[in-house]
Every structure is written in structure tokens, then in C-alpha cells.
Point group: C2
Chain length 343, copies 2
Amino acid sequence: MPNSKKITVADIARQAGVSVATVSNAINNTGRMSEQTRERVQTAMKELGFVRNYSAAKLRSGRSHLVGVLVQDLSNPLYSEFASALEAELSAHGYMPILANIGEDLERQDQLLGELIGHGVAGVVVTPVARSVATQFDAIVQRQLPCITMMREVEGLAADFIGIDDFHGGYLVGEHLVQLGHHRFAMIAGLEGTTTARLRGAGFLAALSEAGIPAEQVVSLHSEPTREGGELTARKLLQQDLGFSALFCHNDIMAIGASVALRDIAGIGARKIALAGFDNLEVSAMWQPSLTTVETSAQALGKDVGALLIARLNGETGVPVRRRRKPKLVVRDSTFALREETL
Amino acid sequence: MPNSKKITVADIARQAGVSVATVSNAINNTGRMSEQTRERVQTAMKELGFVRNYSAAKLRSGRSHLVGVLVQDLSNPLYSEFASALEAELSAHGYMPILANIGEDLERQDQLLGELIGHGVAGVVVTPVARSVATQFDAIVQRQLPCITMMREVEGLAADFIGIDDFHGGYLVGEHLVQLGHHRFAMIAGLEGTTTARLRGAGFLAALSEAGIPAEQVVSLHSEPTREGGELTARKLLQQDLGFSALFCHNDIMAIGASVALRDIAGIGARKIALAGFDNLEVSAMWQPSLTTVETSAQALGKDVGALLIARLNGETGVPVRRRRKPKLVVRDSTFALREETL
DNA sequence: CTGAAAGCGCTTACAG
DNA sequence: CTGAAAGCGCTTACAG
């Protein structure tokens, strides 16, 4: 049983019969050192139950093994799957994430970024809140901390960005629904002021426009990107009897919410309105009816972001990355050809 | 625009015309200080863009604003909802979580606990991995770090525990199914060696036993507590044509997996087998058929655990808490009375 | 409140 | 490799 007194590098040095410099080198794999010496140090650390003090190391060296991860809302499966994959990637390289939900609060984002700097994180991953501006990241940029923005792009910000080709994804949905014969559409868009909402909506409308359906003919409402938001907004749309036969939702949890509204209000006729989402959550494949959607792959995003961050932490410089993965349409039961009698 | 040089308390002291001791006191709200002085310091911090260095503070004071949170798997909604609620609670009191997935790896748990100590966390929240033993927490206990175990209990560990009355939950499900007239049962239990799996199973069997159905007559298989595990194990059970009319799954994601297997194999007869889960995830209410389950309330657990941890961090000592929230049964469409023709 | 100084536990030159 | 020492940026006594 290790002694409960605090064990320092000096104790290890004494026990192993080496200098503290050597102990430090052994811990950090720096400098050359005989295998034998390294082992003596390792043994001493085990025997005494040494736990390295990252705070002290950080203070002196400036290097940190912590990374800040700010997501919009961890209870959205998209973000928890993302965070999970990212954590695995970081963990494999000796980093741990400090994680927090930003919500949709600009001030909280400022405050959290400050806290992360205070904790001395080596880098930052963030899903920027709607209406973020580049200056909010000044403190990060000045300190030259690796910073990866995810999903939502911040204009003018000199940071890496990894996301989805939202426009293309929206376009695929529009194209698909048009091909199925639909010509009256509704859209539940995401939060105003986010690039994701703007681009998905624009892509969707572009596809319709190519088919001769002008944007003005598409009923469109913004909504919180939550299940409740989707359900509530779908109810509003349905109550107005607007005669649309196809509904595009900004993401899957909103679509799932909308689907509940469709069931309730349209009853057995729920299948009369074609429904598509965005993200392809795990649950979307199993939903009844299984949901047509666009593959975002939070897992793949997490791996991508993790790999890029690790590269940056290893000193890989270069111009900021701006990468939008091309998404694929996943066609399932929730979309179907228009039959005239459904109108 | 703040200067990019690093700003220290000494700089603030100079700017505000006070001593560094006063700056420190202002930051930490310690000692008495005129409101005027406090404001002068605050102003100076704003002007110079001061960001406090938690590493230095931790090194000197031993106090930390980080908390370690180890969950089994963040991509399980139970844990992401828990983590989300816990984060909100911690954040409101100036703490941030370092978060990691343990998975089901005993060694990784050891390693992660060590890392957290190294990072100087003020306390720890952990969902212990199956087969955890108390000695694995020695390093935590010796350092007298507040430690809250969640969901799964570790025998002989002098740490707080907050979970569910798993036995009672399992019992409620058994009782409910018996009342519906079922007499042939199957169970997909959770991971072997966890208290949750053992207690939920025992409670379920106890209820059946009271109705005169001995445990030997209940087909029971263990499974990974994942959606895939649930689906796979349900397939195994269904292929054997064991004639059960009711299936109890260790948790909702397993039940959802099982539900998919029921749809596939039993086809339109999926409703012939009553299905119950445990946790009441958000998705369970919306599932088709909506899932009968036991209310775990990850959110409430997160709030509970957060509040207890904050209390401990504020120095509230006393014997370890051992709290099991009494869960409620949520009856929905997936369970129904046995009709003899379904056999 | 001030002011000067010690010290938390590391890492990092630096001379040998 | 060793050994002795400085210093990262705080907090904390301590004398005034």
C-alpha cells in the first residue's frame, strides 16, 4: 500500500538513485537515457505510488494535457456521439477533455472560453453558438491555441473548421422529394443565425427551385433544434392546413418530434406526409416509420476533429483547415411517392 | 484589444494600485475588502484582459475547480443526459468536468482515476465498471477526495453512492407482467458482475416467484448493455422458440434493440410479445410501440449527484451517503394483457 | 488593507 | 547522465 504522504519527483529520484532531472526525463520520454535507468525510475514510481502533478508541470512547461470541448448540448445524441468519439481519440494520445454545454448563450460561450484558458488547455474544440463573431475568439487566437470549430462556421475566424456540406445535404433532400412527385413543401429550419440552418435551407430550396418551385411557395418556420421544438413547430404547421405533402426538418431529433406530431394529428394518415431529417442518428433507422435523412456521422466527425487537433498539438501548422464532408442521402420509409389522393 | 503578453496578478496589482495579496483576495472573495478596492481590481482585470491561471492556484493552494467524471459510455443517452445535468450543476458552482468513457475495462478505470488525480481534480464522479473492487479507489480515498459512485455499487467502498432501487424497479416490471396474465417469461439481463444487473434481475424474479413462477422457468441471458446487444440477444431468444410471451430487458436501449428484433422476426406479430425496459429514455415514450419501462431519470440523478458533490466540496463531511431513489413504473403500449391465442 | 517573501512540484538550462 | 538552482504564477502567512 503506498504511503499517503505526497510523493514528488524528489522522492522518486532518491529511491531510484538518480537525479530529479533524470526522473523528469523518464516521465516525459525526453533526452537519451539507458533502458536500465528508465526502468529503475519506473519501478520507483510504482513502489511509491507516484502520481505526476500536471498542474506543476503545466505551470513550468506551459504544456498541458487538457483540451477544452464546448458542445451546444450534450443531451442531443449528435453531440454525445461526437464527444464520445472525440474523447476516444484524445485519450489515445494522452489528452483528456474538459467538457461543457454552451447551450445557445453567447455570453456563456465567452465565459467558458475564458475558463478553459484559465485551466490552461492545450487546445479547444467548439460548436459555436448562433451569432458568434470572430472577435470572441481573440483570446484563443492570440495565445495561438489550436482551435477547431465544428458544424457551424464563424465568419472571419482564423480557426480550423470541420463540418458537413450542409448545402449539399439539403439539396439532396429537396431533389429526392421532387423526384417522388411532391410539389407542396414545408420546412422546419434550425436556429436562425447559424450557418447550418442557412445552408441546409438554401440547399433544399435550390433543389426545389430547379424543379420550378419558387422559395415563396415553401412554408418555412424556424425552430429550436430540439425534439420539443420540432414537435411544437410541426403542430403549428399542421393546424394551418397548408396542404403540403412533404416536410423537411433541420435535423433528426426535430424530425422525430415532428413525426410524433404527425402521428397525433394526422392519426392513421400520418404516412400521408413525407418526412425527412438530417444527421442519421442511430435511432432514426429504427424509428417507425424509419426516417429518411442525411448522413452526418457524428462518430466520423469526432474522429476527424480529434485527429486534426492531435496534429495541431503536435505542432503541425499551416493555414486553417476548412473541411466540409460530403454527406449521403439515406432513403427510408418516411418518404414515399406522392399519390394524388393524399392531397 | 488586450495586450497579448501574459497578464499576472502583479500586473493587476500595479494597475489597480494595490498589493498582489489584495488582488488574490479580490479574485477569491476572501478577506474583508472595501467595495471600492474590489471594483478597482475588477476594472484592472477587465482592462488588461487578465485570465487567472488555475494551475498556479492549484499548485499553491491545493484547491481545484476541476471535477473528474467517468461514465461507462457517453453514447448511451442515459449517461449523456446524466452528464449534461451534472455539468449544469457543477458549472453553476464554478466547477468544470473532465469527462471520459470507461467502457467496461477495469484497467482503464484504474488509469483514468490516476490521471484525474494527476490533474488535481477536487472530486470524482464515477459509474464503476463491472467487477470493480474497493481497493481500486484507494488512491482517491487516501487523498480524501470526495467521490460519488453512481448506479453501480462497489462493495466495501467508503464512498458516496447514488443510484436507483434496482430491485424495486425489476419487481415492478415483474408484478405488472404477472398482473397482465403472462406466465412464460424471458429476461435479457445486463452485464454480469454489476449490481444493477443483479438487482434488477432479482427484483423481477422475486415478483414472478410470488406469483408462483420459479426462477428456473424464466429464460435468462446476459448481454452487453447496448442496443446491438439487446437486438442480438433477442434474436437468439426468438430463434429458440421458447414460447415466452413477455420479455424484460435490463435497460431501454437494449429493449429498443430487442424491439427491432421482434419486428423483424415476429413481423406483424411483434405485438404478441410484451416488452419492458428500464430507464425511461426520452426516446422510449415516442417509440412504436411506446415502451413500458421504469423511470430512472438520468437528469434527476445528475442533479442529485451534482448537489451532493458540491456539498462535499464545500466541506460537508459525514458518513458516506447510500441513496437509492425509488423508481416508478411507466406503463405504455409495449406491454399488454396475455391473450391465449398469442401462444 | 500593504509589502516583501516563501513555497507549491514540477521542468529546464547549465556546468560538470 | 548528475547536481544544484531558477522560475512558472499563484496563495499564504507575517509583520506592519
